[in-house]
Symmetry: C2
Amino acid sequence: MADNGISRRRLLGTAGATGLALGAAGGAAGYAAAPASDGSAPAGSSSALASLGTDEVMFHGKHQPGITTPMQSRGHLAAFDLAAGAGRKEAAALLRRWSAAAERLMAGKPADGEDTAVARDAGPSSLSVTFGFGASFFSRTGLRKQRPDALNPLPDFSSDRLDKARSNGDLWVQIGANDPLVAFHALRALQREAAGTAKVRWQMNGFNRSPGATARPLTTRNLMGQIDGSNNPKPSEKDFDRRVFVPEDGDPAWMAGGSYVVVRRIRMLLDDWEKLGLTEQEAVIGRHKSDGSPLTGGTETTEPKLDKTGPDGKVVIPVNAHARITRPDQNGGAAMLRRPFSYHDGFDAKGEPDAGLLFVCWQADPMTGFIPVQRKLDRGDALSDFIRHEASGLFAVPGGAAKGEYVGQRLLEA
Amino acid sequence: MADNGISRRRLLGTAGATGLALGAAGGAAGYAAAPASDGSAPAGSSSALASLGTDEVMFHGKHQPGITTPMQSRGHLAAFDLAAGAGRKEAAALLRRWSAAAERLMAGKPADGEDTAVARDAGPSSLSVTFGFGASFFSRTGLRKQRPDALNPLPDFSSDRLDKARSNGDLWVQIGANDPLVAFHALRALQREAAGTAKVRWQMNGFNRSPGATARPLTTRNLMGQIDGSNNPKPSEKDFDRRVFVPEDGDPAWMAGGSYVVVRRIRMLLDDWEKLGLTEQEAVIGRHKSDGSPLTGGTETTEPKLDKTGPDGKVVIPVNAHARITRPDQNGGAAMLRRPFSYHDGFDAKGEPDAGLLFVCWQADPMTGFIPVQRKLDRGDALSDFIRHEASGLFAVPGGAAKGEYVGQRLLEA
């Protein structure tokens, strides 16, 4: 998990390609200054703070928002199950309503009908809404033949302690925003649109650092204090699209421009973790805690020297260090775009913190993304003593809706 | 609850008196521009966004921080119970450690010893830490004679559905910050300092609007969509101190400059509330949802005309409207400073949102603050059909620590 997260500045560099529109406040604070796609002033310019709420993410585009969109400070993940009697027709109507609502809300407009007004006074606040389909959706809607093979169940991992009630689901929604009331408002609005057609199966809340809390431009920290996302694929790399998105001629055709998301609620055993000294923690991760640089030196972006040995003849980056095991060159090139939220749901009955990571990772195919990496982690990751996978989901996230289209239309009206 | 909250601009006006120091970013966005107490540039000035994290609240002062400090976007409330065998001496040592940690953390410095680094890269981020004592603290530490009468148990209210496990406690901690990682870091650091002496009894997480999400200068909205805090006492009013703080010659002497806090976890029955139309909701509250103005007209700050009747001969602001019942002139002058956080802990087993308000109110004496207002609400508040008090706490919050002193020293070393 040392590498969970996203490179904000670098992702921002692809704004034009991924449907991100920026107001005068640009990518907001915490994101380094970058030219906005509409040619307006870069982030960090005068009066940026007062207009944080005006940042708008575009709903329409080749890909859905919320994948390469810069991480937001507040997030909701939710799965819905179709109600008894609801089939393909009702699902299509729901996705049409949801898409219309998402477009309005992301533009900072009230929801249709009686708006709760919770988000009133705020602008779009970088709201993004992303929709996906779980494996069970296809059997419930008579669309078995359209089900991608990529939605085959994830293998069991020995470190899994999965709560089935908080795993999977027919439909998945990801909401992110830089204001918690804007995010909550969107969640309620989408739930209201679902009434009678689908019911919340599970719902989780997450957060990231507030825009402006730190000048650190690239990556964020997780609740272990570790810099997260250093080794994420970068949109500037030539194989980024191939790794993250289903190609235009991909299979099934309705998934063109889409992506597969793996969601894991990863509890951090912080009471145990915090008993380790700094050197022990850094050996578990393989990177320095202070700046994310590899134990073999350099900066956060320096390549680790995996073969380098120390005076004791052992490799400096231990063989079971998390950063070693998760490297693509250790996994046949497997890579995924990690875009997580932290979570903290208070303390459990034992008095231990119910906190950790809502791990959200994106890939063109889980078989060449999450699965091989997690298999390798499962066999010998030093971090596994300090984390517990408590819930899991795998969803097909179709490409972005064109104007006049709704998300999933190419599946539901084929 | 329509009036929960705080007037940010007005409270900011008392910054010099209440120990709030402001960096170049001033009170951060969402707070109207006001001169910083150190004479630096007002909020909203250039590069404010990038320096949100540098805002520092002072630990030392006449009053503890977190009472008149502008509301922060993230909050933790926690109660601790003393461990078996821990008495006055151990409690004094804990308060000394906690005060030292709070002072360091609020200045943006790491905690002593092995810091988790979760907050690294951020500055103070407006962190405030506030400590209080519950009634049970005094019997467990042999300090019964020092127990203020104001800590007598709150009366039972008919609308209470209190979970005792999440109510009261020996010690109370309030943490607020404008960055969730800074707030979480502080919570963990304080919990670590308590190890062996006190254990978490309950802990709750809350949030408010992000700085910068809206230009609205005065008040915020709660999860019902209602503007909150319109009728809060203002530091500019001559009886503000008398209402909120124990006077210098107050009783007991160790509470001079202190305040009493009532904490209520108030669940909002949002599924029911959102079934009401706008006009019905406004009749329940007595104010317009759009701008918080009284139903009798004007703006948010206009005095409501409680006797004004409509064409039907009935009073325009219904007799059971929340805003009418909570007015000081309807309660023998009772008033309290409300400074809440919203909370959202997902959905409960019935699929209903576990969301609402962490109501936090401050007064010189609960007998002339919370208790008479809540008694009146309990008898006929239209809002009571849509809320449920699920947890309750009452704590004595001593005055602020002078330099070289720790919070509660005047009690524990008397």
